[in-house]
């Protein structure tokens, strides 16, 4: 027996736990209830919403511009925000940094001046910027009143640029590249997957061959080959779109496979047969009966595809074949951490890597949770 999961009135009568009688739950509600039980997936969702919010309001969240160079503050280690000064609680502050040079090695070191706490202020006026390229303002989420001192939560790089600000700006590029890449891949995957799964036959087998072929080519060399063909002098924004397109060109096969698999198994489901026997048109069968029961799967598969795209962008940019400075993305930031010398000198340059790992893991947990929740007959 098979029940159409898209028509709650037919199938899903749920008894309320407290015995208030019977009511019906919509499929999305059921998915949400099951999803809520996955603590890790839920936490990941919250984290990702947070990350994307930060990325959207990057100019406001970042205390400085990602490109403002500070020649006298190179390789500043991450600064700790303190709340305890001189044996007493204090409003959040950082200590003033004094730049000294090691007389033996001639290396620059920074020493905290314990006498001089500089309070951290919220909603301060700082550098000018154009919010979303529209409004000119100078309001930042946090910063210091003293313009000569800077707060570098994650330290600075070789040019004295604030790594935290760069990370926040980079989030905008990297995170959106993941989404846009998946969107391209989704269009391709849905198109080929549904044709392949619904019509079958010759079309199916040729699309299958194509997918097999794409999967049997080493992705990174191929990405590299395609990315290297993009002329350096093109507009960074255009390169960015092309890079996501390249990622999608190779990444769509997985989505197509999911879609095709669902179509194939749905085609033989009894309720689809029933709809057909009841005289529903082909269009109606696809849109009203098959697609709704696939959306949740597709969303889960898309969620799991985002980290692939993010990793792809990071890897390409890291190799210098993807996005290039002055564009700031996490992969571009990691270029600075490419050799042992800079890592041992300034380990904090690896923090963009930490950001990549966290976001990728969060997407994986979220996708796993969604996939489990989307299965109407799952345990």
């Amino acid at each position: 027996m098979s029940v159409d999961p898209n028509h709650p009135d037919l199938s899903l009568e749920v008894a309320a736990a407290d015995g208030e009688g019977l009511y019906t739950a919509r499929p999305w509600q059921l998915i949400w209830w099951r999803f809520r039980k996955h603590r890790l997936a839920l936490a990941s969702l919250v984290f990702l919403i947070f990350a994307y919010t930060v990325a959207i309001f990057a100019e406001f969240v970042a205390p400085y511009s990602p490109t403002s160079i500070e020649r006298l503050q190179t390789f500043v280690p991450p600064q700790v925000v303190r709340v305890w000064h001189d044996g007493a609680p204090h409003r959040p502050f950082i200590y003033e940094l004094e730049r000294t040079r090691d007389p033996v090695t001639a290396r620059v070191t920074y020493v905290q001046n314990r006498e001089n706490p500089i309070p951290l202020k919220f909603f301060v006026r700082g550098e000018d910027y154009k919010f979303w390229g529209i409004w000119r303002t100078d309001l930042h989420l946090f910063g210091l009143d003293d313009r000569r001192q800077k707060v570098n939560l994650l330290g600075t790089d070789s040019l004295g640029r604030d790594l935290f600000s760069r990370l926040v700006y980079g989030a905008r590029v990297t995170l959106s590249a993941g989404l846009i890449g998946v969107l391209f891949a989704f269009v391709l995957g849905l198109f080929f997957g549904s044709i392949s799964g619904y019509y079958g036959g010759f079309l199916d087998s040729s699309i299958q061959r194509l997918m097999e072929f794409i999967r049997s080519v080493p992705t990174i060399p191929l990405w590299m080959g395609l990315a290297a063909a993009l002329p350096i002098e093109w507009d960074p924004l255009f390169v960015y779109v092309l890079i996501t397109l390249i990622l999608a060109l190779i990444g769509w096969t997985h989505l197509a496979r999911v879609v095709r698999g669902r179509f194939l198994s749905l085609r033989t489901e009894d309720y689809v047969m029933a709809a057909r026997l009841a005289g529903a048109s082909e269009y109606r069968v696809i849109t009203k009966h098959m697609l709704p029961s696939m959306t949740s799967y597709i969303i889960a598969a898309m969620t799991l595809a985002v980290p692939e795209m993010i990793l792809g962008e990071t890897a390409l940019s890291f190799l210098g074949l993807g996005l290039r400075p002055p564009v700031v993305s996490w992969g571009v930031l990691l270029q600075d951490a490419q050799n042992l010398r800079s890592i041992s000198l300034a380990p904090w340059l690896l923090t963009p890597g930490l950001a990549v790992v966290t976001v990728v893991l969060a997407f994986n947990f979220l996708g796993d949770g969604l996939r489990d929740a989307a299965d109407p007959y799952g345990h």
Binding site: R209, P221, G225, A228, Q338, G353
Partner: protein, 328 residues
């Protein structure tokens, strides 16, 4: 079985043709061609070369011919003369540059694949048998981490750790003093102390994924009636688990060996750049950056061919291990 192998081998041929064509397209993709690049190289060297001379080179090399004809010539040279064209950056035939590096790439990939399996299979089996045990959770965490950490980051961090804590000089395949020396015991040990990082890096990503797959497959298989039948024959738990469900659960593994290869090659490219290994990766990257397209295209072609062959082998292995496919 023989007809299966034959059929499968025949299938690989069109794939190989498409692969070679795409590699050729990549060579052709960037604006300008070999003649432009060559002329630029000469001009940089201070030589004077006119537009007409450049055009003459172009005609002489047949660069004005239709793409298909050029492709035919390129692939013909490769197939019949083993000539992959000229690397203008190195000013040497491509085939002189690539084989050593390819051999090392293959060696690294194979070692990592073996290492991946040695780690992933027992752990996957254990995790499934002791589901929800402490170690199972630990391996699950490891699996997710392995999936989330990009290869190059892992390489960087391992390199950093072994530099700071183990005080090893890492990067490269051996310490500089052994370069070019005949193989001695000391050199062998030195190579071993270098090669473990790329192997661990390459294996971690793969192993993480495979543990999850193996665990899920085993959980499926352990619940199947034939396992109980095997127990009912009086076999011990170890005999039952390794002879029956593991055999079945391995099938999806075997079928993906071929896909593990492209992943390993991809991983190798980035890891090798970070670790400065004399494999294909760094040379390919350099070739791409320099627009040394014959070199780059040849690499892409050869790596892809290896993958197609790998997939072919894994399909044959799968048919050998799973009678349901052999007789389908």
């Amino acid at each position: 079985m023989l007809s299966f192998i034959l059929r499968r081998t025949l299938w690989a041929i069109p794939t190989l043709i498409v692969v070679s064509f795409i590699s050729f397209l990549i060579i052709q993709l960037p604006p300008g061609d070999y003649a432009t690049a060559y002329a630029a190289e000469l001009r940089n060297g201070g030589d004077y070369i006119t537009e007409a001379q450049e055009e003459a080179i172009r005609t002489q090399l047949g660069l004005n011919d239709p793409v298909l004809l050029q492709y035919g010539r390129w692939i013909g040279n490769i197939l019949f003369h083993g000539d992959f064209g000229q690397s203008f950056h190195w000013n040497a035939p491509v085939s002189d540059l690539i084989w050593d590096r390819l051999a090392l790439t293959l060696l690294l990939s194979t070692l990592s694949l073996v290492f991946t399996w040695i780690i992933a299979i027992p752990i996957g089996v254990y995790s499934a048998q002791r589901q929800y045990s402490f170690l199972d959770y630990l391996f699950t965490v490891f699996g997710f981490l392995g999936k989330g950490i990009p290869d190059f980051l892992l390489a960087l961090v391992l390199m950093w750790i072994s530099f700071i804590w183990l005080n090893l000089d890492v990067g490269g395949l051996m310490s500089p003093q052994f370069e070019g020396q005949p193989l001695t015991w000391a050199k062998f040990v030195n190579i071993l102390s270098h090669i473990w990082i790329p192997i661990v890096v390459l294996a971690t990503g793969g192993a993480a994924g495979l543990i999850r797959v193996m665990r899920a497959n085993m959980l499926d298989e352990l619940g199947k009636p034939y396992v109980e039948t095997a127990y009912a024959q009086g076999l011990s738990e170890r005999q039952v688990v390794w002879r029956y469900p593991v055999r079945v659960a391995l099938n999806p593994f075997i079928s993906t060996v071929g896909w593990a290869l492209p992943a390993l090659f991809s991983g190798d490219v980035i890891t090798a750049v970070v670790l400065n290994l004399p494999t294909t990766g760094p040379l390919l990257l350099q070739a791409l950056k320099m627009q040394d397209m014959y070199l780059a295209g040849s690499f892409i072609l050869i790596l892809s061919v290896f993958t197609v062959i790998g997939t072919l082998i894994s399909d044959i292995l799968l048919a050998w291990s799973d009678p349901r496919i052999r007789y389908a």
